[in-house]
């Protein structure tokens, strides 16, 4: 941080950052505080202030629809983050083999990320449609037994969402991890080669641990987008079949708008904030320890 010039308080600087003050304090402090406050009330369509303690949380955790949402977000989150990381890492490693047409491949892997999740959802809704999509096409090619239509059955619908999520997001993971790979010192590869260590071992035990930062960035990015997943579900399944693919983000919006039960909706929203707080706290502790280690070594 650079030192300010002469005094520590300049009125124009405060005036210039009024929008920032309003957003930081008004939205991210007062807004969140009110959301939490209303989660302890019986607010229906409009906010009220008759407090009922933890009642809304009790009702929330006995609502089958919420329990399904929570299960879904765990399943979808773990599946899509794991697949995204593995596939993104493989793409990055293969992209790093001095291939021809690297820019072309990069453009192809990344373009879905430029599009709206609504578009992604609709594209895959059709691609997985049993009568029009891949299944019908493969059967027309003469593979009569080919079955791949996860969206029509409640048990498999989440897999369809995972496929769409990978299609949209693994290119970004690839880009971040490729940058991490390129950031590793070339000498390490030479040294490993001289020592006769096979390439896959060098990757797994030497290079991958050195890319912690890139992995962490990709992981945090994925976590944030998983918790937020809304557009994709709305466009692809609408939460169905039944409530098989409903998610916490969808649940909260439904409670606020359709079911007009703000108290319980805010309880659900507060629960959504929890995992983010945990991830941030863990990240903060790691950063604090790293900065302390640096101080000790300096």
């Amino acid at each position: 941080m650079k030192h300010s010039w002469r005094r520590n308080f300049h009125l124009p600087a405060v005036i210039g950052t009024v929008p920032m003050i309003l957003v930081a304090v008004g939205v991210f402090v007062i807004g969140i505080a009110f959301s939490m406050l209303w989660s302890f009330t019986t607010s229906k369509l409009f906010p009220t202030y008759d407090f009922v303690g933890l009642n809304q949380y009790r009702r929330l955790w006995s609502d089958g629809r919420w329990l399904v949402s929570v299960n879904n977000i765990w399943f979808f989150g773990l599946m899509s983050i794991a697949c995204n990381m593995v596939f993104g890492y493989l793409l990055a490693v293969f992209m790093d083999q001095r291939i021809r047409q690297e820019d072309l491949f990069r453009s192809i892997f990344l373009y879905p990320f430029a599009m709206s999740l609504i578009v992604t959802g609709l594209v895959w809704q059709w691609a997985l449609d049993p009568n029009l999509g891949l299944q019908a096409a493969m059967r027309n090619f003469g593979w009569a037994g080919f079955t791949f239509a996860p969206l029509v059955k409640a048990e498999t619908a989440l897999y369809g969402l995972v496929v769409a999520g990978i299609w949209q997001g693994s290119g970004v993971t690839m880009a971040i991890l490729l940058a991490g790979l390129r950031g590793v010192d070339a000498e390490i590869w030479k040294a490993a080669k001289v020592d006769g260590i096979p390439a896959w071992k060098t990757h797994a035990f030497i290079v991958a641990p050195m890319m912690r930062g890139a992995f962490a960035t990709a992981f945090v990015l994925q976590c944030v987008s998983v918790v937020r997943v809304y557009d994709l579900v709305i466009a692809m399944t609408g939460g169905g079949p039944g409530i098989a693919t409903t998610m916490p983000a969808v649940y909260v919006i439904q409670l606020i708008t359709v079911r007009q039960n703000v108290g319980q909706g805010m309880a659900a929203a507060t629960m959504m904030l929890l995992p983010i707080l945990v991830v941030l706290a863990v990240g903060g502790v790691f950063q604090w320890r790293r900065s302390r280690r640096k101080l000790v070594h300096a």
Binding site: W5, H10, G16, F28, F94, F105, Y111, A235, I256
Partner: protein, 310 residues
Amino acid sequence: MSAGVETATQGAGSAALAAVEPRGARPHRISAGRLGIYAFLLVSALFFLVPLYIMIVTSLKGMPEIRLGHLFNLPAEPTVQPWIDAWLNACTGRDCNGLSPGFFNSVKITVPSVLVSIVCASINGYALTYWPYKGANLLFGILVFGAFVPYQVVIYPLIIGLSSVGLFASLPGIIIVHTIFGMPILTLLFRNFYAALPVELFKAARVDGAGFWGVFFQIMLPMSVPITVVAVILQVTGIWNDFLFGVVFAGRPNWPMTVQLNNIVNTTTGVREYNVNMAATILTAAVPLLIYFVSGRWFVRGIAAGAVKG
């Protein structure tokens, strides 16, 4: 100039380095291993490309041809009628005006939102770097935290707040909302950029008697072109692709293209016109795709910046 962008995005994960060229000479031998590498990449590329291919091909077919189920075949009798229908006649409920009103709504939302959010964020970044007042860094910390907050936690207080000043479900309302949610990442972007500039520039201008706004307009703004390009790419694609804020805060007359697309496709009664739906989908994706292919590596830098890592 590009060095400035490198340093600006470096705090945000070093994906800007993706632009670094591969090292060493190209291998000339074609071995089984290299064939395997290309096979993997080509199969992956197919996975990414097939859905786009299906969409384009289907949007050029008539409905009878689609019902035959030959998904991958090229259109036997290509027609652009679905595209015209998607733009002008497709129905959402009783309105049959196609996607075009949504397109113009999206323009009306995106242009002012991008302008306002970038102006706010550049002043924030500048003030945080050179004029930090007491508590400014705490505010910045809150803002970075805000980048991670699920939208659902703040949507309802925003609805109440905006309706108390009469801006809920209006064009100014949605512009304010986009400015709010764009602010964390953009402020981070501009702050890192200004922090990487040589401080002597600022000191010299101060000695010459320039004040807060003088330094900003005469020194900082002219130097901010590269970072502003990144910010514009980030914001235009982000706001154009938004669905949730549009459907909640814009109000029915101002619904953006993504909302109208979803309504056209997912609420149709009667016969589903897949060709029209796919044409509509491609039209909605066209603007961000165009930006992506034109801007190339700047887009990757925008993603790197979006990969918030303070």
